[in-house]
Symmetry: C2
DNA sequence: TTCAATTTTCAGTAATTCGTGAACTTACAA
DNA sequence: TTGTAAGTTCACGAATTACTGAAAATTGAA
């Protein structure tokens, strides 16, 4: 097949190298990178060809990427083969990824933490362990609920919030004052 | 060694099992869990003993945990051995972890994305790839900068922000209105 | 210094994960 | 139906990662 152009090439191999750190493997990382930058949907042979992976490996990689909702299956008119593309909106991608991560990596832990909290500690050591577990639960629960809430806002609102950076504090303080004023006026 | 009490036991083995999903290995996960719930700092032998790992494995695991800033080295008076404990404040833990993750998993990618953006595309395919890369860069850059900013706020402020959930939007809208009013008054 | 306690390194092995080709299944056009 | 293109599964070898015990290095008390 024809060599990938230089920018694409570098992007793809970076995703391969980082794969292990992200918790996906080299080939899955490269397949995703290739689909992400591609203008048109790709089929399994395109990918196997471009990346020089075995057809079976590509098949498994695509299944994996679908399970993470990182690629969408698409059918092209008059073509029996399955084509894949990445969602266009990067914020959408980010959300799917976060949701999937939560489902797989956070929820099971939250359940376990919850279960531990309602148990009766057998001794002092376990009583202390339970306190620590409770603290961990509160933090994880709060942040994951919060992420959920925020993800529901429009991309524009989120971008606005993010661009505010640490000055959200000022806004928060301001609303507090407004509440106090309102309370005073009421009486 | 004496068996771990039940709550601790379950917590520790859960961390071992989840390890692979988190990108750490079973033993490192269990070592951390044990230190996290322990009331007193632990030394390497305590850990090797409690978890039935080899001494060398514990040594490597502790190095790994230190590099993630998840455990702190502590010396006890009149004892030559090295003791380890987890920071008490869970929010502090969360921040260290996020910072370390950013340094290892996000920064290298951001550099690569930046480099790709300033290159001159060789053909149409690469020009499109570059556009996509730019979009990815904007999102990652914005969210990581934002996280940095927010992390600098006090835990209380952050908790306040989080408990607001999606109603931050109301506050954001409100400040916008205030700004408009102020601008009108100025003229 | 010396020596013993403690920690680290390292080579070898065990376990796990990855990637391939071949066989198998599925779906559709003729 | 039948035949073929497309997709999946699977068993196996390759590569990587995890873990151990033994040896080496380091530390600090005497």
């Amino acid at each position: 097949m024809t060599q990938l152009p230089p920018i694409t090439q570098k992007f793809v191999s970076h995703f391969g190298e980082m794969g292990s750190r992200w918790g996906i493997n080299r080939t899955v990382g490269q397949i995703y990178a290739l689909i992400f930058v591609s203008e048109k949907p790709l089929n399994a042979d395109d990918i196997a060809d471009a990346l020089e992976f075995s057809r079976s490996n590509v098949s498994i990689g695509l299944k994996e990427l679908q399970s993470w909702r990182l690629v969408k299956l698409k059918h092209l008119a008059g073509d029996r083969r399955e084509y894949f593309e990445a969602p266009q909106d990067v914020w959408e991608i980010f959300k799917s990824l976060a949701e999937e991560k939560r489902r797989r990596e956070v929820e099971p832990t939250l359940s376990m933490l919850r279960a531990s909290i309602i148990e009766t500690p057998a001794n002092d050591a376990d009583a202390h362990a339970q306190k620590r577990i409770q603290q961990m639960h509160e933090l994880i629960d709060l942040s994951s609920t919060w992420f959920d809430d925020v993800a529901r806002l429009s991309p524009e609102t989120i971008a606005r919030l993010m661009r505010m950076g640490s000055s959200v504090k000022t806004v928060l303080d301001m609303t507090d004052k407004l509440k106090i004023v309102r309370r005073k006026n009421k009486t």
